[in-house]
Symmetry: C2
Subunit: 400 residues, 2 copies
């Protein structure tokens, strides 16, 4: 007799992409595949000082169990920061601390999704969210996007004819994987539409503060009058990912469910990590730290885009991100980025093939590039190598 | 239109017990209600030193994303420790790092349980596990226990007549809430039975190392030849809970599913916490630290039991735990510990009413006492107060 697993486990298969990404971990590979922050910007000296202070000032509390909702002073600081950066009007009582925003994504699936429920998302969308929702048996309808974000006419049409849309998942700021940011007009229209249909919205905002140019645009959460928008934030990209701290901000009736789930899922997030990050915000200037990050990432984005312009053959399209971590590349329809990736790996350079970002599959002529985690010289060298390979593939087609 | 949540959320209600326990958090309350370790034993000075070393030696890795499975050197140390303490024969590849063992409990529910599946557990059993499994829509059959652990004849009878038993959840060492430890004979018989039926077993072992007297008994995991036993461990009770680090040890076919779930649930546990705990094990003697904990807890257990002997009225029964954190008290059947708890709170003393530890309810004449978290004088004073209240309730009955 074989061990019988739950039905929901059938959807979770060995990810082809995960296996591929393991090959990118060798040090000789110039990898644009991950979504890792630049480690050279981590505040190591500051955190050394801070861990000492936290353990001196409140060692017994930092090492003990604490509340499920999270460390109150940290929740207060998050609420204030959101009100300033994301134009919301929230308090600590609207905030639950989670293990990165990935846990907020997973909890959203757990709180809302029955087997067969439909999630709407941008096409393409974030792989980690897609997998979390799939693990609850959800189906997806992909809403078309353009350079201004989700296309509202498409969204309306889908909502008009579709029963059982349970949740809409979006990343309006520097989207993963495209780097695209929704315009204010799109956001306003979106809130109008979802207010009419009263569908919960998961606004995933890990990159919002990583803006290199232009003005930041108010969050969906800030425009929501009906308590439909659940906002996910994280310290992974503005401080560092190692503490695994993020947050969920939602109206009381929804947040209460997330807190129940947090209680059974792992009781609480780390007491000491929460106190350390909270103390960092007290003693250092997080805004200045983010500014430092943005200067480096902006330079790397520019360098990557410039090199792409020179090295990528004609007919290859890509986005221009005003912030965040990613550039999205589209090849002519007949090319398959999974096949090209094998050539890339043989030349010690890597990206993420785009297919996995489409929950319903079927689109393979695109890939995602990350510019935050590689040094200037490796960015230039890596893009040159990809460019050479792309030229080869483009040439083959032309010769047919 | 109200927001529609997933069906599974219907089972998760505001816990009466959680509301009650909030009242025990006032400093003037002598609370035997929690399951908190003694904070005065936390290695604060050591962790101060360690956090400095970890950030100096490997700051960029400690603050960066890491692998889903967990920090390899820590997994190696856990495997070695299990092989020594729990008589297993496992390697790092059998270990997944989780956020405390609560996350392992929740993952087990997620990996195995469909709506309506049956979980067998000891009667009574751990509240946090019951709630995690219930959140996946499981049903429970409670297997009777005595002072030697689960009663094997009862287990066999249930398995003979019950379809769809998907998982058996047990805490064989210093059980929560009873403090009872299974004898070697019971364990052998248990393995014989589950090997026949081939049902996965969740062996929850947060307290195994907290033995004050007698010889430790091999884990179920160590006797399992069929890869059916999933072992859950944690640093919360042998080091401190603040880092939220535990582990799941299981055979490859099962562990693979847990790793999938960890990936979608929160990507990974904290990189820096894992490195800090790993470094503690390198630089300090965890065995000596556990010995220190056991000396203090043994004294507190003795003091609590002695005071109970003097102060509790005749007719009140309680367990004698050889280790762990808890004593389980049984009152005459007509008494309801929830009602008595109100009197206790009015006298600034608290325990956990026992009803919540029975997944199917219906037993209210018992409560759980924790002795690890209170000073000697408060233990004596608190037990005296409870004794006085119990005498009053016992007297009322006699007068009827």
């Amino acid at each position: 007799m074989a061990i019988r697993f739950a039905k929901r486990m059938e959807g979770l298969k060995e990810s082809e992409i995960r296996e591929l990404l393991k090959l990118t971990e060798k040090p000789e590979v110039i990898s644009f595949a991950g979504g890792l922050p630049a480690p050279e910007l981590f505040p190591i000296e500051e955190m050394k000082e801070i861990s000492k202070i936290v353990l001196e000032e409140s060692g017994t509390q930092a090492l003990q169990y604490s509340t499920t909702e999270g460390f109150q002073p940290l929740r207060e600081k998050i609420a204030r920061r959101m009100n300033s950066k994301n134009k919301t009007n929230v308090t600590k009582d609207d905030i639950l601390i989670t293990n990165g925003s990935q846990q907020g994504l997973d909890f959203a699936g757990r709180v809302f999704l029955n087997e067969g429920d439909i999630v709407l998302c941008e096409s393409p969308s974030y792989l980690g969210a897609i997998n979390a929702f799939k693990s609850y048996g959800s189906k997806f309808i992909e809403v078309p996007t353009d350079k201004d974000g989700m296309i509202m006419e498409a969204l309306e049409k889908i909502l008009e004819v579709t029963e059982n849309v349970k949740m809409i998942y979006v990343i309006p700021d520097f989207q993963n994987p495209t780097g695209i940011t929704w315009t204010l007009e799109r956001r306003k229209k979106f809130i109008e539409i979802i207010s009419k249909y009263e569908i919960p919205v998961l606004e995933d905002n890990p990159y919002g503060e990583l803006r290199f140019e232009g003005e930041s645009i108010p969050s969906l959460k800030s425009m929501d009058k009906k308590g439909l928008v659940i906002f996910l934030g994280t310290f992974s990209k503005i401080l560092c990912p190692g503490y695994r701290l993020g947050w969920t901000c939602a109206s009381q009736n929804i947040l209460k469910k997330f807190i129940f789930v947090k209680q059974v899922a792992d009781l609480q997030s780390s007491s000491i990590s929460q106190r350390e990050v909270s103390k960092f915000i007290d003693l250092y200037n997080l805004d200045n730290h983010v500014k430092k990050i943005n200067e480096v990432y902006a330079r790397r984005r520019d360098l990557m885009l410039e090199t792409m312009k020179e090295e990528f053959p004609e007919g290859v399209e890509y986005t221009y991100p005003e912030g965040g971590l990613f550039i999205w590349v589209e090849l002519p329809k007949h090319l398959d980025s999974r096949i090209i990736m094998k050539d890339c790996l043989a030349n010690n350079v890597a990206y993420v093939p785009g297919g996995s970002f489409f929950p319903n599959g079927g689109t393979e002529n695109c890939f995602r590039l990350n510019y935050s985690n590689m040094s200037d010289d490796r960015i230039v060298e890596g893009i040159k190598r990809i460019g050479l390979i792309l030229r080869k593939y483009m040439a083959v087609k032309q010769n047919i």
